[in-house]
Point group: C2
Amino acid sequence: MSSLENNFREIIPYTPGEQPQFKDKVKLNTKENPYPPSPKVMNKMLDYNELKLYPDPTAEELISAIADYHGVSKDMVFAGVGSDDVLATSFMAFFNSGKPILFPDITYAFYDVWANLFKIPFTKCPLNDNFKIEKEDYYRENGGIVFPNPNAPTGILMPLSQLEDILSHNRDVVVIVDEAYIDFGGESAIPLLNKYDNLVIVQTFSKSRSMAGMRIGYAIAGKRLIKELNTVKYSYNSYTLNYPSIKLGKLAIEDDEYFKNTVSKIINTRERVKKELSDLGFSGTESMSNFLFVTHKNIMAKDIFGALKEKHIFVRYFDKPRIDNYLRITIGTDDEMDKLIAFLKEYINK
Amino acid sequence: MSSLENNFREIIPYTPGEQPQFKDKVKLNTKENPYPPSPKVMNKMLDYNELKLYPDPTAEELISAIADYHGVSKDMVFAGVGSDDVLATSFMAFFNSGKPILFPDITYAFYDVWANLFKIPFTKCPLNDNFKIEKEDYYRENGGIVFPNPNAPTGILMPLSQLEDILSHNRDVVVIVDEAYIDFGGESAIPLLNKYDNLVIVQTFSKSRSMAGMRIGYAIAGKRLIKELNTVKYSYNSYTLNYPSIKLGKLAIEDDEYFKNTVSKIINTRERVKKELSDLGFSGTESMSNFLFVTHKNIMAKDIFGALKEKHIFVRYFDKPRIDNYLRITIGTDDEMDKLIAFLKEYINK
């Protein structure tokens, strides 16, 4: 068997957040939406007889709905099995120069995993002491750039003017902006697509659109970049989105009223909880996402994490340099957040 | 833009079969099952409220059902978004030695596409004049082996004794046997897993299990190979199978009676149609799959293909060396096949 292993790819995989199975849990560790999908989705009867046929490889219905929603043409949209699939496909498609790609040292933990998987060299640019991206770090020669906006796990939003500075300094490489959390208070870079043919914007149905269980993500970019993403897709798996994803995804994106309503509930809860956490001695970043990134003035994050877990309240803790005294707390329903706050009040004042 | 393209991956994508949209079509070009999924699937109400949460990344329910069905342990099963995803992941995981991998010259058209995508060198071993795999071609030094059994588009089955000869000559590399069509008359290599730790068997829900629209494929192999496939999966996309795939896939595999019944209907139709085509002057391989691979004694395959297409009867034609006078015809319902035969009778005798 040992010689067999010489054929294996050498990699260190990404560690996803825990998926605890307790019935009474409060699950605030994987940035899911606490509200169900739109009633238009909930009430749809799928025609399972369609399952015998391959799904439309172009996912035309879904792609059209996304294009219409964002006011772009259909050939500017690419869809995949969650934004992870879209991002991984983008890494494969666009980061082949041999030069190191650039991304923040504190960011979505999948970027270096994909770079390793596809043997793409990379350099991590440290966030500054306020956990902000320094745009000048991205002015050096590179093979491409990727960062989330807002960034994770900090939730900090980069203003579009700064983002444009990074784009204009990098016209010869692809810049991927991962907008997984943009709907919770940020401004999308989509209008910059008119000016920058090197920009790829990635969004997801998993957070603001309450459909993590369906696995739908998409990219918006200029036609030539989308064509390239499709070329890689058709070289990997012609039919990635299944029949339910195409049908229900379309319905979800069409119900804009429901979407705006749930997003605004989450924002309200976030601001309320931020205030309450502050009263309990927590401080943190100015999060524009569906999570808070906080540290306590006296108690170690790891200890709070452990105490919460014992009560089946799950938040995310990263045992990593610079952020190992922080917790990332997903915004749940008001009821779920009340349970969290009630426990913390008791725990901190005991 | 031209310098931007220097960063792109150089590839030639796979061309999937046409998905014609005519209402009155007879679609025999993409090897789909003409029968709907099991009534257990058709009658299942999914709880769409679950869609707000990420699906189980381990797809435990589905994996358990597959493991139970095949009488193997859960850690011997890996699942993905169709067998294409499972095969592509296997290429990434197992074909990293730098030596050329081996596969037939006439076979599933995705193998060389994946090899190109992942920059894996490869050598194609020509089928013999009867379109059979010559096992001795696979005794040379190599970086891995992959072939379908039965092979596509020929439908020819390799006896397990020959398959074992290939395995025993290649103990130091991974041998992938793509059993997409095994249920239509072949014998699975699963029992050989006890003896060969270098064997990966790939199966799919898209053909015999009537669920092409759901995109479910799986691999069965020894624990160490499955662990390696999971490592690559968790480095690419933690949550590949969505909530409906996990739930409905489980139900589909559990209904063995329905499965055996539809498979046997397809086999009966195949044998009947083979005889009728023979009466019309067609000959072909001894197909053990859900398609026939036939050539006509007088009329060029390309002409027949075009004539059928005009009548909205879609079969597959490959404009490739050695097989450019053959048609691949999926076995549909008896009614669909009657339409095909009726047209051919008229066309050939005109």
